[in-house]
């Protein structure tokens, strides 16, 4: 599809319209650029300075070396990576629910509203709510008891082996709605012809969606992966801070809480800054990988 600007760009060139001179557009962009330069530019510059100094003395990459071999930091990053593993789970469940809604069963609109509500709630609210909900004598376990499932009524946040998984569960609970709406919107925009044809051929539910829905959702699934990947890797501070503060022990410590703790309670800004630099580096690497994966998916999707 040729975008309008492309066609008119050629036209403009013919008419000798403004191009090449950067002054006027830059005037428009300047205010925004100033804000961005301040927030990102200065911050990243200062970050590097803080990470390469200690007590006022320049130490080169020594801080980074210390951070890299600091056991609490490794534990934290390890937890971030473990959280990433929930990505396929979130996407899978969201896909399933979106497909079910797409089929237009009776009452599907009600389900759509209900499923979106968790996503609406602010993360701190979700965190505080589940902080209560998941205690040993909290609402979840009361529910399980009432259903006769007492054996499942565990100490979801107090047991170090369960805490991180419970955290992941809460994140899944909240982020699911976004995926459902996303996939559903895409599905609803697809043409129904392939479906009708396949049904005539007697295709079952599974084959229908595997061969028709899934290929057309490839790129949007890729997009969702990126968004949720970003969230799980570097935007979980709200959940951890409110629900467990990194506990019990350090079972739910993540990179963000490591940085926050070192910047505030431990009063070691150089350690926090170094951790941030490493996190940023790892993040860029992950983002690059995700981008490549998405590109690959898109290419396969458009080739299909």
């Amino acid at each position: 599809m040729v975008r309008p600007v492309d066609a008119t760009r050629a036209a403009r060139r013919r008419k000798g319209a403004p191009r090449g001179r950067a002054l006027e557009p830059l005037l428009w962009i300047a205010p925004a650029l100033a804000a961005i330069a301040f927030v990102f530019g200065y911050a990243l510059y200062r970050l590097v300075i803080e990470a390469t100094h200690r007590d006022g003395v320049g130490v080169g990459l020594d801080n980074l070396r210390i951070v890299w071999s600091d056991p609490p930091f490794r534990t934290a990053i390890g937890h971030n990576l473990r959280l990433l593993v929930t990505l396929p789970v979130i996407s899978g469940i969201a896909l399933l629910l979106a497909v079910l809604l797409f089929e237009g069963l009776r009452g599907w609109k009600l389900h759509r509203v209900a499923l979106f509500i968790p996503y609406l709630l602010p993360v701190p609210v979700v965190g505080v709510l589940f902080g209560q909900f998941l205690t040993l004598h909290g609402q979840l376990n009361s529910l399980l008891d009432a259903l006769g499932l007492h054996a499942l009524a565990l100490d979801w946040l107090g047991n170090p082996d369960l805490a991180l998984r419970s955290l992941a569960g809460v994140i899944i609970w909240k982020e699911l709605g976004f995926g459902v709406i996303l996939f559903l919107a895409r599905l609803l925009s697809l043409s129904t012809d392939p479906y009708d044809a396949a049904r005539v051929d007697g295709a079952g539910w599974w084959r229908l969606h595997w061969h028709i829905s899934l290929p057309q959702l490839r790129s949007i699934i890729g997009f969702y992966f990126v968004i949720e990947g970003v969230t799980l890797f570097a935007w979980v501070f709200n959940y951890v801070y409110v629900m467990t503060r990194g506990g019990p022990g350090d079972a739910t410590q993540v990179a963000e809480t490591y940085i926050y703790d070192n910047a505030t309670t431990a009063n070691l800004p150089w350690l926090a800054a170094s951790g941030a630099v490493v996190l940023l580096g790892g993040f860029i690497a992950l983002a690059a990988v995700a981008l490549l994966v998405r590109l690959a998916l898109t290419r396969r999707g458009s080739a299909a």
Binding site: R9, A35, L97, I117, I259
Partner: protein
């Protein structure tokens, strides 16, 4: 109903219940007493009481709410203004660095805010701007700009240039074209952008925690975490606080469902 349909309905209902039960417990607990809550955490509020809400509202809650609203409105308005201007500059003209600039700005979308917190906090201390709203607004604007610029630039590029050409032929200035043609046509993406950004600022916790520490300047979300600590012996009050914090967003959703959903889908559709 055959087994297949039964399975589908069950799955949907299971998911719906899973989504709604925690929210139900939040609201129902907010209407009970601590004793009733401890005795049976799941029970219905058989004799509802408003003591939770009263305690929450007589605490610093209104103050925090006002702070959040102030921050949200200011930072979103500034972001929209700056982003619209910048997006116009990045779409209307062609110049050498344009695509590099745009890519650089868009790439910033994924920088985790925690990375920026340490250096900006140190700067804030040096400039004596901690506990002021100015610095926080500047940071929020900076953080929201990449996505906002990205969205608006994509949108502006879909507008037919012939409209602008026609206006120029009629004697409009460059700014006039922007104001009288492009802006009015952008009502839809602007509103969706406003909604997405409002949600983001409203929910934000980390920066609010670090830069606004005094009880007077605290935002609603940061206040909620302190609230939880303050009332850990009176859970219904905490739940009432949570319900109060959720109300504005749910209200916004009910009024502007269309824009909400569009806003969320917008970025993704453009992003393909």
């Amino acid at each position: 109903m055959n087994a297949g349909r039964l399975a589908k309905h069950s799955t949907l209902w299971l998911a719906t219940l899973a989504a709604l039960i925690p929210v139900y417990t939040m609201v129902s607990a907010s209407l009970r007493t601590q004793k009733a809550f401890l005795d049976s955490p799941l029970g219905l509020p058989t004799s509802p009481t408003l003591h939770g809400y009263r305690a929450a509202l007589s605490d610093s809650f209104p103050r925090w709410l006002a702070n959040s609203m102030l921050l949200t409105v200011s930072s979103v308005v500034v972001t929209l203004v700056l982003a619209t201007l910048a997006a116009w500059g990045l779409s209307r003209w062609e110049f050498r660095l344009r695509d590099t600039l745009l890519s650089a700005i868009v790439a910033l979308m994924v920088v985790p805010p925690v990375v920026l917190v340490v250096p900006l906090f140190l700067l804030g201390v040096e400039l004596d701007l901690i506990n002021t709203f100015w610095l926080v607004i500047a940071i929020y604007v900076g953080l929201m700009l990449p996505f906002s610029i990205y969205l608006l630039t994509s949108y502006f590029r879909t507008l037919p240039v012939s409209l602008f050409e026609a206006a120029i032929v009629d004697g409009a200035t460059s700014f006039g074209v922007f104001r009288r043609i492009a802006l009015p046509l952008s009502a839809a993406p602007l509103i969706t952008l406003a909604v997405v950004n409002v949600l983001w600022v409203w929910n934000e916790l980390l920066i609010a925690l670090v830069f606004l520490q005094s009880d007077d300047s605290r935002t609603l979300m940061a206040g909620l975490t302190a609230f939880q600590n303050r009332y850990n012996l009176d859970i219904p009050v905490v739940m009432a606080g949570l319900s109060l914090a959720t109300l504005p967003i749910v209200g916004l959703y009910l009024i502007g469902q269309r824009w909400f959903l569009r806003g969320l889908v917008a970025g993704s559709v453009k992003g393909e």
